[in-house]
Amino acid sequence: MIAPLRDFATRFFGLFRRRSLESRIEEELRFHLEMQIEANRKNGMSPEDALNAALRSLGGVDQAKERHRDVRSLRLVEDFCQDVRFGIRMLCRKPGYAIASVLILALAIGPNTAFFSVMKGVMFNYMPYPEPDRLVQINATHALAGVPFGVSYPDYLDFQKRNRSFENMAVFENAKVDLTGTGDPERVRAIRTSSSLFTVLKRAPLHGRVFLPNEDRPEANAAVILSYGLWLSKFAGDAGVVGKTVSVDRVPHIVVGVMPADFVFTESRYDLLLPLHVNPAEAPRQAREYYPVARLKPGVSIEQARADLSSIAAALAREQVFTNYGVGVFVQKLSRNYLSNNLVVLMQSLYLSVTFVLLIACANISTLLLARATGRKKEIAIRASIGCARSRLLRQLLTESTLLAISGGLVGIFLTSAWLKLIVALAPPDMPNRDTISIDRISLVYTAVIVIVSSLAFGIVPALRSTGRRAMEALKEESRATAGRARHRLLNAFLVSEAAMAAMLLIFTGLMIRSFRNQITSYPGFERTNLLSAFLVLPESKYGPPAHVNAFVGDVLAKLGNCRGIQTAAATMSHPMDGRYASYPFSIQGQPYVSGNQPPTAALMIVTPDYFRTMRIPILQGRPFSESDIHGSPVAIVSESMVKRYMADLPNPVGRRIKLGDAASAKLKWTEIVGVVGDVRDLAVRTIPQSQIYLSYGQYPQRDLALVVRTDRDPLEYAAALQSLIRSADPEQPISAIRSMEQILGESISEFRIVSELMSLLSIFALALASFGIYSVVSYAVSERTQEIGIRMAFGAQRGDICRMILHRGLVLLGVGLLLGVAGALASMRFLQEYWLVGVTSRDLISYAGSGIVLASAGVLAMLVPVHRAMCVDPMDSIRHG
């Protein structure tokens, strides 16, 4: 083995043989000294001289030992162990500081790691499949289409046959099906997939099995696999569900398996997996509804796959000119990048807030360490004077900071799980990856990183300060004034920055809360209490002809009308909280559309006559729809905004005619306006245009409809009645999403609620930490100025004067911090503004003023104790003892 390597190895093991090596060198040196003394004696020296000469020749025993130590093991490591031991002793000497620092840091690290885990789970595409980077999704593209879309089945088959890049491919399509035979009929989301999906993703089911290749054939016994969510909600998590039979679209299927919670490979949640049976006659090349996924062959890169598929697509474009001309292919990693921009902003704001809390905590701990350093001045100065290098001292102090940080991190991780439970409980039900958010290795690594960065952040300044040249002169009786001034400036800076960050956080929170309040209390244009809603989808097989639809709906509404406790009921294509709007351009008779302008558009709603009464939307002019309209000429009702916007200069909107679409089109008929109603809007204010046009449901029956029911009491009490009523009208008709309007409202603004709640919590933390920081700084200032205060008092200053003096300083700093915080908040408003602020501007006075008051009060409270101490200073004592 070459010498340097051997040397290192021996040194490494020398770490563990410290004691034996230490005793060895001592014995050797002792022997050496004895021999040398003997030799000196023989030469005639006196015993004393012999000893001194021997020591001299050895160059000092301790130095010799020290040099020995340098060689025998890895010095750095030994030093580090020594630092740690010493550090622990030092921290235990003043446990108050240590405990406070650890707690403060833990409070800050807890939410930091929690939010990181959430962000990681939600945003960073954490896919539970082996080698997830080898998975790709394939879409079709076309120059005229803005976004990629699905692939057609024949195209998929060609890709599968001709590609050279994938070891496996699979394809699926989205569907909605009726699930019956287990509890209430329900309309659920399904994915029809080829059995190769499970080979591509390589994930085992939770229970049962996945689809077999022979189940791809239509003749096979119909199988179905449940999603984790559906398994929990509809089958109560019973593992015995495997083997049971359910009906999917009225065809019996056997449940063969249940997938784990994180088996997600597509944007939207799904409830069922079904085998994909494609009838070639029904899947022409133009029907682009299929979504392939594939796993790359080992050694093939995604770029190679792209090139490969592109050439196949080009070949298809040549061979199938009528269907594939201009159709390209788009290959990308199978990642879920469907996060709405709003969710991203939410995550970012929360993450920023949580980082603020951490920064405030670090400033706090730095303050504590600086204050503590005063007490260790002498110790450090002495060590420096006997030859300790500054770097060694720095290492020692930084080791202590690291010990604090590590302890804080460990305690913080305990708090993290509490935070995570809280966040997941608050989260909206469709937040992606909800079930898989947890503390894992990566979160722990992140915590370790924060710990190290924090320890440097809060430790470096006190360490540098304590070992600087000025500190070394502490052994001399220094003049307090100069030595303390720089430290004071630093502490003041800490106070100001803590106050600024706390202020920013408070301002953000204030704006969020106000925004949230506005949403809850604003009037949406209809009466939303005591309103029940549900969705129905009538299958075409039964309700093809419009007359059938009208008959069914009429039957249901009549039955509802006869129910006790139900005032009125109506059916509609979509209601304001629905989220599904179609905006249509329309034309007004007599107002020809001038090309080049934006054509008038409005949201289209199709409603039964009792709709306005049920929703309590005010009728401003004319009349609502009536039963007789069904057989008459087309009628429409418009909203107030629509009139104001597009018919302002026409005297009477009632009686005018409008047409959906182009005025010249012969297909659509002119429709007479028979009434004007108040506007409705959904509470997020953004999605539904104010201009609304209502058509009569009887004239345009829809198979995809919502029911709204006005009840006497709590609407959910009537849910069961509604369910059975539908069953009595048609036993096989599923009804879904029976909820009260209040519930729907709650869900639609759930994002706001979460942000408000979480930010409130964080603000409280930040406020507490900042208050503690203010308390520390002012406390320290008071103790440093004790002598000065005593002198002032001796010269006649009253307690009130002292109080004012201390408070004045503190309040000035607080004020500066507040101003900085306000400036910071204003500057960063830009990226919050768009979505999150409803009904409040970014300069909302109340939020800013409120935050200022809260912070100022907390600050003053924090200063009370030190101020009181200052006022109680005994002049004689302080001057004498200083």
């Binding site: 083995m1 051997r6 014995e27 050797e28 022997f31 040398q36 050895l58 160059g59 000092g60 010799a64």
Partner: protein
């Protein structure tokens, strides 16, 4: 560029190895004494540097050590040279000889 300590190390290493090679196993004091003798006290080195140097040589595997007893029945640590130590000594001696030769030629020879 060799630093001063490297040169010192190198010289000391050479001396220790040579001593052990010539005299066989010795304890630390004897080595120090011998080096002082041989160099006629010109190299009156700080004896405290000897022990770290010998530990370094031991770490590198060129000498080995173990406890033994002196003639006076005292306990002392005896060092002896190893095979690889001998090889190293040989090479070092060669290097030194070469260097001395070069210097000699530079100082005396034609330019």
């Amino acid at each position: 560029m060799t630093t001063k300590s490297e040169v010192m190390h190198g010289t000391l290493d050479l001396l220790v190895l040579r001593t052990l090679d010539a005299l066989g196993p010795q304890h630390g004091y004897a080595i120090a004494h011998r080096i002082g003798q041989v160099s006629r006290d010109v190299l009156r080195l700080n004896q405290g540097t000897l022990y770290p140097a010998m530990l370094r040589l031991e770490n590198a595997g060129w000498i080995r050590s173990k406890w033994g007893t002196t003639e006076n029945n005292r306990k002392a640590r005896y060092y002896s040279i190893t095979g690889s130590g001998r090889k190293r000594l040989q090479r070092e001696v060669q290097d030194w000889a070469q260097m001395a030769d070069i210097i000699k030629r530079v100082l005396e020879g034609a330019f």
